[in-house]
């Protein structure tokens, strides 16, 4: 970002992870600046969870490297790191309070007052054994533990799954609060609206490959749709197909939709020369951009 170069907190370099014949993550390179909230988007099986596991040493990369502040992962780093797996890792016979006690004993940075505040925020009954908690309450307990150690790095895999909309908003607020305090947050979500709000950086994975990454705000500003309608079937446009700023051309009878990178001025001029009956430029929100990137639009 202009005027505020930030140091890289997490570096993923040419990461590949294969399980037998399946390539779960394919040559993925991402660099995550300190203080960023980095949203990872992708359909199921895109490689998000595997990426997280490789980052945290829970899966051994087939190739590539991971760096934290320029150094490889080391055991002492976990003191200031929180990982929330997709399915919260809880001991089902232990109560919420016992989980927090375990966190207190493990993490020097554990903040008991903060933990109680967060448990209240999520309406969590700490006397209950985790087995008896609903899915949403189990997520809430995992979140309380994740944030109560005041981590410098947070890796959250679908942190709001199972939560109601109010508690989902709390999760975003907690991430924003952590980032404003200098922490680096990486999270995955199926809810693009959450990424649109909380994340400044986004990466879109599809079948293990990185298909798009950047600042959410820049992607919105740069990705446009130019839509033209013609009096008859849309004419052939070979020049358009070979234009480097064109991502995709969708034709439907009289209508042509061109997904472009940039303001689309060249495409607008090119289409205008073909005398369309109507021509307009549409903005794209992150959901549109995502759907185009994974080829579903």
């Amino acid at each position: 970002m202009s005027g505020q170069e930030q140091i890289t907190a997490i570096e993923i370099g040419a990461l590949t992870k294969r399980f037998g014949a399946t390539t779960a993550v394919d040559d993925l390179s991402i660099s995550i600046p300190g203080g960023a909230i980095f949203g990872l988007l992708g359909t199921n099986g895109a490689g998000k969870t595997t990426t997280f596991k490789c980052m945290l040493g829970l899966a051994r990369p087939t190739a590539g490297h991971i760096g934290f502040g320029g150094r490889p992962l080391a055991p002492e780093m976990f003191q200031a790191m929180s990982y929330m797996p997709e399915r919260p890792a809880l001991y089902e016979w232990m109560t919420g309070a016992q989980h927090l006690e375990a966190a207190r004993q493990t993490f020097a940075r554990y903040d008991g007052a903060r933990a109680r505040e967060l448990a209240d925020l999520f309406g969590l009954d700490l006397r209950k054994r985790s087995r008896t908690l609903s899915k949403g309450q189990q997520s809430a307990l995992a979140l309380v533990m994740a944030f109560a150690i005041r981590p410098q790095i947070l890796v959250l895999d679908e942190p709001s799954s199972g939560l109601d909309p109010v508690h989902q908003r709390h999760v975003l607020d907690l991430m924003i609060d952590a980032a404003a305090g200098g922490a680096t947050v990486v999270f995955s979500s199926h809810q693009i609206g959450q990424v649109e709000r909380a994340a400044d950086h986004v990466a879109i994975l599809h079948r293990g490959k990185l298909v798009l990454q950047g600042l959410v705000e820049d992607l919105k500003a740069e990705e446009k749709i130019v839509e033209a309608t013609f009096g008859d079937d849309a004419p052939a446009m070979p020049a358009l197909e070979s234009n480097p700023s064109v991502r995709r051309v969708v034709r439907q009878g009289r209508l042509v939709r061109v997904f472009v990178r940039g303001q689309g001025d060249g495409v607008v001029a090119g289409l205008q020369a073909l005398a369309p009956t109507s021509l307009r430029v549409l903005d794209q929100n992150l959901e549109d951009i995502f759907l185009v990137a994974v080829g579903e639009n």
Binding site: G35, I37, I176, D177, R197, A198, T229, D283
Partner: protein, 139 residues
């Protein structure tokens, strides 16, 4: 909570641009006066549930555009001199872009030049007739 700002993260318009426009509008209309303090980046990020770096980007651009000034430790303030004029000039560009888009849209619906001019005059009559204030603002 500073209800004067509200952003919509789900449109294709970047949040920082929405915020810049709202601050300029508030300054041009006198809702925010010279010297007035803006919320801190963290405060506004929390209030709007928006990424803090996005808010910081809006503030940096507002500073570059001469609308606000930031002093380390004290916060961000509307500039004492010239902020209103600069904000008004920038807003006129925003209005120009809206009009441009509206005319392009009208053309794309197949309207002829004369019909667009007719619609435009009617809109002018509706919004600029009563008190003439709009005219002065445009001078």
């Amino acid at each position: 909570m500073p209800a004067i700002f509200a952003v919509d993260p789900h449109t294709g318009v970047p949040i920082y641009l929405q915020l810049i426009e709202q601050v300029k509008r508030s300054v041009a209309l006198g809702v925010l006066s010279p010297g007035e303090r803006l919320p801190t980046v963290k405060q506004l990020a929390t209030d709007l549930t928006v990424n803090p770096n996005t808010i910081a980007r809006a503030y940096r651009e507002l500073e570059r555009d001469g609308v606000i000034e930031t002093s380390v430790g004290r916060g961000s303030f509307i500039r004492q001199s010239g902020a209103g004029e600069r904000a008004a000039a920038d807003l006129s560009d925003v209005a120009g872009a809206s009009l441009d888009a509206a005319v392009r849209e009208a053309k794309s619906m197949g309207l002829r030049r004369a019909s667009v001019r007719e619609l435009f005059s009617r809109a002018l009559e509706r919004w600029y007739s009563a008190d003439g204030e709009g005219k002065e603002r445009n001078d």
